[in-house]
């Protein structure tokens, strides 16, 4: 029973911590953020399985995390507001030549990140950017000026 409780608590605690820590998952993770994610994940595994390293216990833990994740996914697609809390919402960083300072400071995104995203789009200057948007997955979308 403790494994199930620990797995569920661990899942939500990790979700909360990662959500407040970083907003650059997947391919956007920097080595600095990789360290944090793997370290936290490793620590939570220890608490989840405790002293019982049996296959039964680990299987129960994995299944519990899988079920919890599936349940959260279903709830997330059903309730868009919950999705906003879990994944965040897109935010505009640059709009028509104006840096959106509140959003940038809140997300701790600096101008170099936007300029790098513009380069990836083949743009040579940030002046060619109409919109720069941080997506829910943390990537920066660039809409060039027409």
């Amino acid at each position: 029973m403790y494994t199930v409780i620990h797995a569920i608590v661990g899942y939500f605690f990790l979700l909360l911590t990662v959500r407040v820590l970083v907003r650059r998952p997947g391919a956007q993770l920097t080595p600095f953020e990789f360290v944090i994610i793997f370290l936290i994940g490793g620590v939570i595994i220890l608490a989840t399985v405790g002293n019982d390293h049996s296959e039964t216990n680990c299987t129960v833990a994995i299944i519990t995390i899988g079920l919890t994740h599936r349940l959260v996914s279903i709830m997330r697609s059903r309730y868009p507001r919950l999705s906003a809390w879990i994944d965040g919402i897109p935010l505009i960083l640059l709009r028509d030549g104006q840096w959106q300072l509140e959003q940038m400071e809140g997300l701790r995104v600096d101008r170099d990140d936007v300029i790098a995203a513009a380069r990836e789009k083949g743009l040579t200057s940030v002046r060619e950017v109409e919109y720069a948007v941080v997506e829910r997955n943390g990537s920066i979308s660039i809409v060039p000026r027409r």
């Binding site: 403790y2 002293n51 935010l91």
Partner: protein, 180 residues
Amino acid sequence: MTTPARTQSIDDSVPRDRNELSVGEDLDFQRRWWRFEHAVWIVFTVIVALDVAGVFGRGPVAKVHKSTPDGAMNLTYEQFQRFQTPSIISIHFGPNAVRDGKLQLWVSQSVITKAGNQRIIPEPASSELKDQGLLYTWPSGQHPDSADFAVEPASPGIYYFSVRLPALGDEFTERVVVWP
């Protein structure tokens, strides 16, 4: 006959920015999130500070020392312990704790069941069930200066334990919080 695939017509439900870009930015929501995020970091900081202080065990606040007025028994234990994590309940005996050449210590059953006693150092010569607890005896010439109970709480929650010197009637009843 095959069932047709479910479809839905496109409706532009995502709010537009300046009537141009469908982005769905909600700055009010984001400000609420940042306030929540700020509160989470405060809570995290408080948790770390409490942990350093020992409120979650293994720190200065967790350690408790008690002595009987006659100095026959000194008890040291952690009032905050952790689930399935080793801890020590230590009892030091004064010279007057020995009666009739033997040292006897009674502990409540909860030391075994709730605190999860693993072993006693040094091992007593005998033990017997008495008064809903256990009476340990160290014989003449072998009585120790102290007895350490290596415990490992079996479940989270609150438990009470008692230790007593039957010969003198000195007793401590203590409360322990076990964190998950």
